[in-house]
Amino acid sequence: MRRISPAISHAALALVPIALLLCTQAHAQSDVVLQAEQTATRKLDIRVDRVAAPAGGAAAAADLVGRVIVADLRNSGFFRVGGALAGEGEDLPFSFAITGELAGDPPATGGGGAPSLTLRLQAMPGGEMVLGKRYAPASGQLRATAHHFVDEIVRLLTGESGVNLTRIVFSRGQGDRRDLWVVDYDGENLARLTANRTLNLCPSWSPDGQHIAFTSYAAGQQGVFLLETKSGKVRRVIAAAGLNLGPVWHPQQQELLLSLSKDGDPEIYRIDLQGRVLRRLTMSPAIEIGPDWSPNGRDLVFTSDRTGSPQLYVMDGDGAARSRLTYEGEYNDAGVWSPNGEQVAYVTRIGNRTFLVLISSGGENRRLLTDESWRHAEDPSWAPDGRHLVFSSDRSGVFKLYVLDVVDGTWRQLTAGREEDITPSWSR
């Protein structure tokens, strides 16, 4: 997992642990991963103790660290969390415990003493340390520090990359004005990225997190623009006549995949970051939109209504070797390839409702991920862990963003407020 440029919010992430304490990882790790594999669908029981700290500002800072750790562990989907901070009893047969201390002046107080945050993962019931980290968090880095530690735990115990330092960019607004906003994966550090009094839609992170490509009506018609996350600068990539829709990044190369209708109806193109067409991939009198690369950058899934209704198809990066992916349902769109390449999530319309669907990249094992209670579930985007999807739903009456765990079906609301939140993109 690559981390996101810190410049968008104040949470700078210079998170190099300054010391690895008493590392007993060498032998513990293999045992622990094995244990986690055996319990792939069962959750690991983990206890989070209060982070010890001297009274005053340090206590509040330590409390924040503890709460972030609890939330991250729960959000990962791998753990059942207990302990005082989790608000649950301590009588579970915990497999692990997290302990820690905050020493020195906490960053929040701006004191001169170097703060030091030590966090440990211990195997229970014996208490042997499996992972130990000491951090020197600067001001505003406490959350990021806790996120980093839980990412390390997830990687160690499950072999998967954590998503605690990822972000989600999305479009928020109403009517003829929508702006891009960004939020941490857990709903914190919400920030607005554009303020140009027009429609800004369909943002997409670059794989390195340095840029966001998006569709905007900034010039009175659609164009594709590039926002540099570090500086906030926006520049136009292309504004061909007609649709300039839904840019997505190539997973390895500096190029975009999008739909242009400059020659009549929407067709799928690969363009470079200067807006030059590298290759036109489709040529039909139908609507061809919504492309997304497979993680290896060889194939792409896209939507075409060449049969009279929108369906998902797969083709290679030259536009050859096309095959139809979806047959069930009269309206399938917005396919997104899972990070491990094995599945495609998409949107199907049944009656007046829309539902999220998961299907294998070979077209088998179709299953609905949402039910009627979600009203309209749309705009899926994968987390880099391949386990979580962020999407929009108007189950509350207005479109907001939600995060769904496709393994165990649990979900949480990511954004709140009265305005519509749509077209999210989860950073790598």
């Binding site: 659609q222 649709l243 929407p266 609507i287 939109i289 919504g290 209504d305 769109d333 917005a334 319309r349």
Partner: protein, 177 residues
């Protein structure tokens, strides 16, 4: 006849006035009078002594919203971009008006109802706007005068989640470019 009726009315009102005045005169009373509200006194606009002929009104139709001089939006059935008979009848009329004002350009906005996905609706909205443009061009409107933009489901005319709202939002709207 007219003169006689006017004379009669005048006579009747004079008689009534005399009767009322006589009634008041019999029993004098202290009457609290409320001054008439000031606001009722409106200065009469002075009529022009010599009415000069007003200059012929020069309306720049390019400054008006197309809807202000008879150009109407057209509506679509669910999930399609083909024109209905009713839509073609409206466009026939729109084309006549457009051809009367050949210097005016138009923005044709394609819109969809909220059902369906964002991107597909943006594509469908464009398809609707383009089928309107194609029909207008077939009626003699110069293609260069018609610019297309799609707002998909992003820009609804009517809020609501029922068929009447959906039907109102499935449209091609004419605007100033």
């Amino acid at each position: 006849m007219k003169g006689f009726r006017r004379w009669m009315l005048l006579a009747m009102s004079l008689t009534l006035g005399v009767v009322l005045a006589a009634g008041c005169g019999k029993k004098p009373q202290v009457v609290t009078e409320t001054p008439p509200p000031q606001t009722e006194v409106q200065p009469e606009p002075s009529a022009p002594v010599e009415p000069t002929p007003a200059p012929a009104p020069t309306i720049d139709y390019a400054d008006l919203a197309p809807g202000e001089y008879g150009i109407e939006d057209v509506f679509f059935a669910y999930d399609v971009s083909t024109l209905t008979e009713a839509a073609m009848a409206v466009l026939d009329k729109n084309a006549r008006i457009m051809n009367e004002h050949p210097q005016v350009n138009y923005l044709v906005e394609g819109h969809c109802d909220e059902r369906g996905t964002i991107e597909y609706n943006l594509a469908l909205g464009e398809k609707r706007a383009k089928s309107v443009v194609n029909y207008l061009v077939s009626l003699g409107v110069a293609p260069a005068r018609l610019r297309v933009v799609s707002y998909g489901e992003e820009h609804p005319f009517t809020q609501g989640h029922d068929e009447s709202a959906w039907a109102a939002n499935r449209r091609a709207h004419f605007a100033k470019p």
